[in-house]
């Protein structure tokens, strides 16, 4: 009995210990929901769930199938495939620094909590991703594994039922929040003050990136090179979505269905084709690009923006996509800059790797 008490006390202490983010000086601290504080135990449970094919209805796929660590938690495909082989209309987004995203997914202005978002791949039917269904014995599958009984006890030491969907999504969200990328050459250059961390070409490319003629930074801004971010003590402005002139197909809305951007939620025709500006961290290894993977290389992405959009006549196109001249040297420099955002550490950090 005394031993049991001791074990319980240890588990409680572990769960309550403040989570250590290990962020570089000057890097913002992620904002975490009050009802799901970060703990090492929750992150560890979340990691096990993230890599477990028992998370899918047919036992074939897990979160990690489409979010592979070595590809900065993308899958390298233009569009992803669900557990039954059903194609997803859009590509898997990187989960790196997802904790800072003011809004989640490519084009849902209302999706702001990772806990809620996790339910979409788990239970969503259009498209079908992991293919779980109510009453399919998912929680019982987890409970039958002694490893999970231990992990859930540590992560959720409060009395009451531990094996709940809410606890599963809390743990997965905690693991996702832990995936912080802050160790790229660019970070060492800026936050670490190491002038030699990036090449001269990358430094020239950075100046171009922040130049008003190119205005890349207007959408991919801030420390995360992305649209709106949230962090401790930082109030976010309304997240923005952009139509970059990728398509102008006949039929009224300009973009090919079902990828109509935030129009799907707002039903405002002016919102057709508007998607989120994702983070450019690790962008060199997350090809192919755009919401539907329709651009294969960074070179071609630059072609698209330099041309003012490959379908430059789309009426909803963001005025920032005006096109710009780009010399061969500028192009090389910009790509070197983008490559300096690759964080090799996050791609092989064992804390984010498959624990099974």
């Amino acid at each position: 009995m005394r031993i049991l008490l001791l074990v319980l006390t240890c588990a409680t202490l572990e769960a309550q210990r403040a989570y250590v983010w290990n962020l570089p000086k000057g890097f913002p601290t992620p904002r975490v929901p009050a009802d799901n504080p970060m703990t090492a135990a929750k992150v560890e449970l979340g990691r096990h769930l993230f890599y477990d094919t028992r998370m899918s209805g047919n036992g074939r796929t897990s979160c990690a199938t489409c979010h592979r660590q070595e590809l900065a938690f993308t899958d390298g495909k233009a569009i992803s495939t669900g557990t039954t082989g059903e194609p997803h209309p859009r590509g898997a987004m990187s989960l790196v620094n997802i904790a800072y995203n003011a809004v989640l997914t490519w084009s849902n202005p209302g999706m702001k909590e990772l806990e809620r978002q996790a339910l979409v791949p788990m239970y969503g039917e259009h498209p079908l991703e992991l293919g779980l269904r109510e009453g399919d014995g998912f929680l019982e599958r987890l409970r039958s594994d002694p490893k999970y009984r231990e992990l859930f006890d540590r992560a959720f030491p409060e009395p009451g039922e531990r094996f709940t969907i809410a606890n599963v999504t809390k743990a997965i969200a905690s693991f996702e929040r832990s995936i912080i990328s802050a160790r790229s050459p660019w970070d060492r250059y800026h936050y670490g003050g190491d002038d030699t961390a990036v090449s001269d070409a990358a430094k020239r490319g950075e100046v171009l990136f922040f130049n008003q003629h190119l205005s890349c930074f207007r959408c991919h801004g801030g420390f995360n090179f992305s649209g709106a971010t949230v962090s401790e003590g930082h109030t976010v402005r309304d997240p923005e979505f952009h139509n970059t002139g990728l398509y102008n197909v006949p039929g009224g809305l300009g973009y090919p269905a079902p990828n109509l951007g935030i129009f799907e939620f707002t039903k405002d025709p002016k919102d057709a084709g508007k998607f989120k500006a994702p983070t450019l961290r690790n962008i060199a290894i997350t090809a192919p690009y755009m919401h539907d993977g329709s651009i294969a290389t960074l070179d071609e992405v630059l072609d698209h923006y330099a041309a003012g959009g490959r379908a430059r006549d789309n009426p909803n196109k963001d005025p920032l996509i005006g096109g710009f001249p780009l010399s061969a040297q500028d192009r090389k420099d910009l790509i070197e800059f983008l490559k300096s955002l690759t964080d090799e550490e996050v791609l092989r950090d064992r804390r984010f790797a498959n624990p099974w």
Partner: protein
């Protein structure tokens, strides 16, 4: 001399030029301030949240001090027609924004707009510098001009 030329060529090659700020327009004579001039002027430090919430400290010379030195009517001279004056801040990449004299004068807006040359104690580098404006009370960042090169004083009524 050869060394100086080499330094100049190297700084150009790195996309960085030595800090230099030109004040011109409706003033008696253009004023060019180099890094060492700015170092000797009254300096201030402001700590503000960056675009994404990170706290950063900028150090530099208040814009009003630079304009005073250029002979722009501020203080007791800022009245009557002088109040119809503004400053056009121009960046290396052509970006421009406007400030009125009234908003930075102590008797009016008293905004402590800074021409910064240091961020967290280090010289501004890359796309930020070598000089930039910092407007601590602006909610949005768009007037905090990076790569600041020129201040053009415009008096609409002379």
């Amino acid at each position: 001399m050869r060394y100086i030329t080499l330094v100049a060529i190297l700084s150009l090659a790195y996309g960085q030029t030595a800090a230099e700020l030109t004040v011109r327009g409706d003033i008696a004579a253009p004023l060019v301030l180099k890094a060492e001039d700015l170092a000797r002027m009254p300096r201030e430090t402001v700590t503000i949240p960056d675009q994404d919430g990170t706290k950063v400290s900028y150090e530099g010379v208040p814009l009003r001090e630079i304009l005073k030195r250029a002979g722009v009517p501020l203080g007791k001279d800022l009245r009557g027609k002088a109040l119809a004056s503004y400053v056009l801040a121009k960046a290396h990449d052509g970006y421009q924004v406007v400030f009125s004299l009234g908003e930075m004068d102590e008797a009016f807006g008293n905004e402590s707009i800074l021409v910064a040359d240091k961020r967290d104690g280090k010289p501004l580098f890359g796309y930020q510098g070598p000089l930039r404006l910092v407007c601590p009370n602006d909610k949005a960042g768009e007037r905090s001009v990076r790569m600041l090169e020129t201040l053009e004083v415009v008096r609409l009524q002379k």
